[in-house]
């Protein structure tokens, strides 16, 4: 994945062991799915060195999840890039963060978060015994938050163009870059779901927010090129109660 990962566990009985488990898991995911690694399984697939009958079980699973998401989003989630290579990182990121959070929960920890590249799975409460506070970054000022939401055992994922360049393509528009919305944040029951729908909704441009509006259990905050934000009708429940 090649991105910074933060893990925080509040429960007092956390030791180095659980953190090592989590980071070992992310290393495993990176070595298998990173399109930036010559030695990864996904690179072998893209370079034609690995046929489908030789894929690992986890690779088969990831492709099945991608296919399912493609159907559920009317084709707006599509791992095929314009150059023909496959890049499942839109699914892998949310999936692996969610899996990591389940490793943490299986060991009995309840209050934590896992943050990989700005996509977050939170659990329980923070060190002040309050809901986790999550800032949504200003796309034009990296050290500034423009919205603060409060979540518990939920997922928060942001899709955006401002750092990676126009890396999310609209497969239903001749694979032209989707560029009307600069940043779209989705809050959902877990980060896997939030991330895959944020990726698809972002590709839909201004219609993405309406897509999330119609999706039960998900809320969105979209920031457009003119620094105007649009939120789904249930988004306000995640704001601080002042």
């Amino acid at each position: 994945m090649g991105m910074p990962i933060s893990v925080e566990i509040i429960d007092s009985n956390a030791t180095e062991s659980i953190f090592n488990k989590v980071f070992d898991y992310f290393t495993h995911i990176d070595e298998k799915f990173s399109t930036y690694k010559k030695t990864s399984e996904i690179t072998a697939i893209n370079e034609g060195r690995l046929k489908e009958d030789a894929w690992s079980g986890e690779m088969h699973l990831m492709f099945a999840l991608c296919e399912e998401t493609k159907k559920e989003t009317g084709g707006y989630f599509d791992i095929k890039k314009p150059d023909g290579t496959l890049d499942p990182s839109g699914i892998v990121k949310g999936w692996s963060i969610w899996q990591a959070s389940q490793i943490i929960q299986k060991d009995g920890f309840k209050n934590f978060y896992v943050d990989a590249g700005g996509d977050i799975q939170a659990g329980g409460k923070n060190a002040d015994d309050e809901l986790w506070s999550v800032g949504i970054k200003n796309p034009w000022k990296q050290d500034e938050n423009v919205k603060i939401v409060r979540v518990t055992t939920q997922g928060v994922a942001t899709s955006g163009t401002y750092i990676r360049g126009l890396h999310i393509y609209n497969p239903r528009n001749g694979n032209k870059p989707a560029n009307e919305i600069t940043s779209l944040t989705v809050i959902g029951p877990n980060v896997y779901e939030a991330d895959r729908f944020a990726t698809a909704a972002f590709a839909m441009g201004v219609h993405g927010t309406h897509f999330i509006e119609r999706l039960p259990g998900f809320e969105a905050y979209a920031i457009d090129n003119n620094k105007m934000a649009t939120m789904t009708s249930g988004f306000a429940k995640y704001l601080s109660q002042e």
Binding site: G2, P4, I5, S6, V7, E8, I10, A14, F19, F23, T27, D30, S34, Y36, K37, E72, T73, G74, G75, Y113, D115, G117, G118, D119, I120, A122, W132, S133, V134, G135, K137, P139, K141, Q142, D143, E144, N145, V146, K147, I148, S159, G160, T161, I163, R164, G165, R172, N173, G174, S183, T185, H207, H210, F211, E213, M228, A229, T230, M231, T232
Partner: protein, 151 residues
């Protein structure tokens, strides 16, 4: 500019062009006229209420509404406007906007979602969500920041 399913729209618009060019002398009544008026030989009607004589072009002036077509991801419906006997404008009346959904151009089906200008908030938060940090991060192998909180 509204995005619409361009593929489907082009199919339908080409279909209308083919129809217009092929039925100049036919008597098949199609597409559905917007208002009832005197039926001409071509089967189209002109809703202007005045003379239906064409000028320099081949077609009778007026607005003609096409049938609703299934464009795979939703419905598509166009209206063509003939002016001076030529195709002057194509109006999209219905187009698919999102998976399994058809949007009326007048937008009455879409809820008005709350909007606001973005405003700086406190930097004092537990976690930050945003698009990934730097492009450099992708070139590196996995970077890890470890934060352990113990009571």
């Amino acid at each position: 500019m509204k995005k619409y399913y361009i593929g489907g729209a082009i199919v339908i618009i080409i279909g209308i062009f083919i129809y217009l060019f092929s039925t100049r002398n036919s008597t098949t009544p199609s597409p559905t006229p917007v208002t009832t008026a005197t039926t001409t030989e071509t089967g189209m009607t002109d809703n202007s209420g005045s003379s239906t004589t064409t000028t320099s072009g081949q077609y009778t002036d007026g607005t003609y509404t096409g049938d609703v077509a299934d464009a795979t991801y939703g419905n598509l419906q166009v209206a063509v406007v003939i002016s001076d006997g030529k195709l002057a404008q194509i109006n999209l009346l219905q187009y698919p906007d999102a998976p399994g959904h058809t949007t009326q151009v007048n937008q009455s089906a879409l809820p008005i979602l709350q909007q606001e200008a973005i405003v700086a908030q406190s930097a004092n938060v537990n976690i930050v969500s945003g698009a990934t940090q730097t492009s450099q991060a992708f070139q590196e192998s996995l970077g890890v920041a470890l934060t352990a909180a113990k009571a």
